[in-house]
Symmetry: D2
Subunit: 339 residues, 4 copies
């Protein structure tokens, strides 16, 4: 079937390619004309404006918006101005699910349907397929199902779960209609929250391995500020962390795609010298914490993993100065200089 794609960055372009490989027709648009030209050269139908894009789509139109998070709302509403009752706008980006609810309500006044799709798979999705978490009206989602089934990895991407048999369910094919509007991005939000937590688990654990040679350091001088390491003999290990991440890939409980990627990264850059350690966060981790708080459900791990990213960017500096200021007041402690 036909799909329009707005936003031809890494993800959008790969979605188009995956759809076209399966015989779907794609109309493509991007503010960057070069991106349009590249996909046109691969066989997609180019559009040179939103108007042109709308004109080249057959009604009922289906358009997938895949633009940076801050631009999604504007793009959706501009498109809605050009679309008609019965058309469908799909937000495949990393939108806040609450924005989905607001947008769907606004679009419904014109009879336009809104579908939110959380998309996971990163730069590997073209080859592996993308995991799709979908929210929207049941019949609209059903109408789009041929597209979702193409984009998703398919049942063979993983061994079937014992207890599941017969024709594979949607979920086993790699896409899932999760509920009404917003449900797709809600599930994607939690997915990313979990991703933050898993990443932090690996990062912290490897951090402890990395410091396991601390007992070899020359004994620090005795002062009232620092307790000497009681038992340096227990911290004499010089671990080969690239090898350790590799060995865990086979047979261990922590085997995972994130571990696979960590092993790749450590082959490419064993000392991680190309990284400064400033870790971005892009919305879903924050929204996951907001949801946990509003629901009254504890999420120590997911939240800590978010806060560690804040700290990595220096955002705890004021608090740390307050601590040093207090210590100076009650104990006369002066800060130890960095060594």
């Amino acid at each position: 079937m036909q799909l329009g794609m707005i936003g031809l960055g890494r993800m959008g372009a790969n979605l188009v390619r995956r759809l076209r490989q399966a015989g779907h027709e794609c109309v493509v648009y991007d503010v960057n004309a070069d991106a349009v030209a590249m996909l046109a050269a691969e066989g997609a139908t180019p559009a040179d404006s939103l108007e042109d894009f709308a004109a080249k789509l057959t009604t009922p139109r289906a358009a997938w918006v895949m633009v940076p998070a801050g631009l999604t709302g504007d793009t959706v509403f501009k498109l809605a101005d050009l679309f008609e009752s019965g058309d469908i706008i799909i937000d495949g980006g990393n939108s806040y699910y609450r924005d989905d609810i607001h947008r769907a309500k606004a679009l419904s006044e014109k009879g336009i349907h809104y579908v939110d799709v959380g998309t996971s798979g990163g730069v590997f999705g073209l080859e592996r397929g993308f995991c799709l978490m979908i929210g929207g009206e049941p019949d609209v989602v059903k109408h789009l199902e041929p597209l979702f089934a193409t984009i998703a990895p398919g049942v063979d991407a993983a061994p079937r779960t014992p207890g599941r048999s017969g024709a594979p369910s949607q979920a086993e094919l790699g896409y899932l209609h999760c509920g009404p509007v917003g449900a797709g991005h809600f599930v994607k939000m939690i997915h990313n929250g979990i991703e933050y937590g898993m990443m932090a688990a690996f990062a912290e654990g490897l951090g402890v391995l990395n410091n396991a040679d601390i007992g070899r350091a020359a004994a620090a001088g005795h002062d009232a500020e620092t307790a000497p390491l009681a038992d340096p003999q227990y911290y004499q290990y010089d671990f080969d962390i690239p090898a350790i991440t590799e060995v865990w890939r086979r047979g261990s409980v922590v085997a995972s795609w994130l571990l696979d990627l960590t092993a790749v990264a450590l082959v490419e850059d064993p000392e991680l010298g190309s990284f400064g350690g400033r870790v971005s966060d892009s919305g879903e981790g924050r929204w996951t914490v907001l949801a946990a708080v509003e629901e009254g459900v504890p999420a120590h791990v997911l939240t800590a993993s978010l806060y560690e990213r804040f700290s990595s960017r220096g955002e705890s500096l004021y608090a740390d100065k307050i601590l040093s200021a207090m210590r100076k007041q009650f104990g006369g402690h002066h800060e130890k200089p960095s060594t």
Copy 2:
């Protein structure tokens, strides 16, 4: 080659089976004679006492101890009394790596070698192979390598990491000599610490999904103790969590063996009615935190995942009572009854 196995529980028995399938000879012993008889029926050489066990092993002996954590030390030392210089004792259980250091030192006085092996793979190891993390003297570990290579999953258990080519390294075969005595259990300790963190990430995230229908609950009465949910319209989702864990298995960033297992568990018991939510912890998670603290490395996520297990068993009750007592004092707040 020949290996003696002491402790024929789930793990020990499967190690023996995996070794024997590859043609190694196994002498087996357990305090439970039935366990010995079962493996003897499968072709292993039975021993009916530690003395008999020692006598049936060819020098230089190699014995693998796979008994509950609290019994490992006693077993190792009893065996050492029966062994001779040049023999090897392998601790394949979940020992604290510091105990390895102490034991190895004690055994070295008699010329007996000590090797510590962290073993991951759970109940699936017989089929998948076990991931082995090994500490000990280089030549001793090298001597045992045929056994380790058999027990480990082998290179085909996972796609090779891009950048790794030629003959597979130890790590790619699924076992790794991590360093001197204790190094194997140190790495296993961190592995389990990471496992705790990953498990908590999934558990917390699914917990937030599970409560996403909170906006449907009848509006709670207004009182000074509880803030009403500001926006119930955002919490109207009734998610199919078994399907969500299934869809994440294909193409998503959180794909992992732990996710696979969660999906299985949710097929078996979709409402988790067979669980009470009292979560055990068995040592490595605690030791990981101790190491982080002694090394001065932050481990928010790994620690929180451990503490959540403590809380699941009611261990925060006293602290919670203190909080209620304080609230009563300063605000006259009385505890709200459970509803």
Copy 3:
């Protein structure tokens, strides 16, 4: 000067009493006629309806709303319907500062001024005075200053901070105009967030003291699920926690009003037998976390203290069941029964 008070619960009634003791005139209203009658008996001017309340106030009217959080918005808007341009409505409850911004904007269309006041002091405020954090237009706040100065504790309530001299500042008198509308409740929100963190610090620390006799427990049986306590000789203390909280009150770094209250609570109920350990949370702790997340500032401690309250009410149960379900899958671990 004159002030109207709506809401004569614990806090509202004590505010009226404190104002009247200093000679201010108070018009009082509550849906509970008994509460009105009680304060009328003490000399306040009673009102038997909102209309009566508005009528008895001299223009420009000043009315303080002190009702449960969930009712504040309605009360403010009903009152605004009866008030005129130039009148002032003060929200002294625990409102979300964002609601202040919305309400002030709505009221400004009618020329009515809105002032938000965060009030701390609990049940002791009548005697000690209340700490006031104020947001609103500068001249309006200035107009109300005689009331704030009366309600606040005054400079003598604490020794002056070294470096502050001359006429006491507002802050030293115990009230502070913190900024534009919402600023008062923002500062109160953070105040309560800090309060949660301090309370949790005490609760957790006392929890560790309380369990310091764990080494005396009969050694648990050896099994694969639980690591035995390595060094029971270090956990043989039977601490007198009421005495410990008392001794800390004099000369120690943790001396604080919360410690004083904890000491009182432990004199009243040394074993805390009257508490079940279900700890409420009333909004500010949650909003503090939301602010930290939106600002991108780490708040590990404040957030953990909130989540511990959630856990105390059983809200981690689903996550805990997930953990047990995972453990059963990979390790065949069955839950240990509660003992």
Copy 4:
């Protein structure tokens, strides 16, 4: 009565002064002869060697050791060599309570008594008195009680707790015999753990206040890495944090000595420009976490406050690099440069 003091740093010197003001006799020694001379000039009896120190003390000797943590053990054992059966050695420093247990056992073989005293009060102790937490044999502690009563602040240092009447208890006088050897430092350890948590609560809360103007920052460009701040209108506050800490000192629930000190620090240096934010930790915080873990008691807040100090010193760098490396692998995300 007579007391010997070894270690005439800030704390040791002030203890001597406080004892002498009350008429006790003090023999003093320090490796720094100037420190000895200064206290001799104030009337203490100087010693120029440990031997001289031991000789000038009347049997049964009582000596208080107040040296840096790393030197305490050596000092205690050197002193024990010079002392006789019946003499008493008091460790008033910040020792690990387990070291107390070991030392007391070693000294008991010679008949020397060991008393551990946790001392809180910081640089203000000379004037305010020190809060003393004491472990040791009952009759030995009783023998030393005149010294403890002098050092402690006395009952008038705080209003009596309602419910306590009659002759003040030890705890009300500001010192407490907490239990057998090690009990004093155990309680001091937890005290400091709580102190860490309280400090972090203030630091984090003030950090959120400090960033409450984030909505004023020029809107960041739209990119896929960062979610734009959804509602900048809610973060327009420019708070006067010195004034806020001042106003909380009177009447609020967070009133505390740590708040008093924070207010002082912010008068001295309102922008905290003299601090770099590298926060030391000196042992007790770490030991508190170890105790929580070994006891199986959750301590989210106390642990997070410790880890934040580690992070303030850059100890999360490796973990943060791992996170960036993972993000690059799965998402092609490159680190954003510091701006």
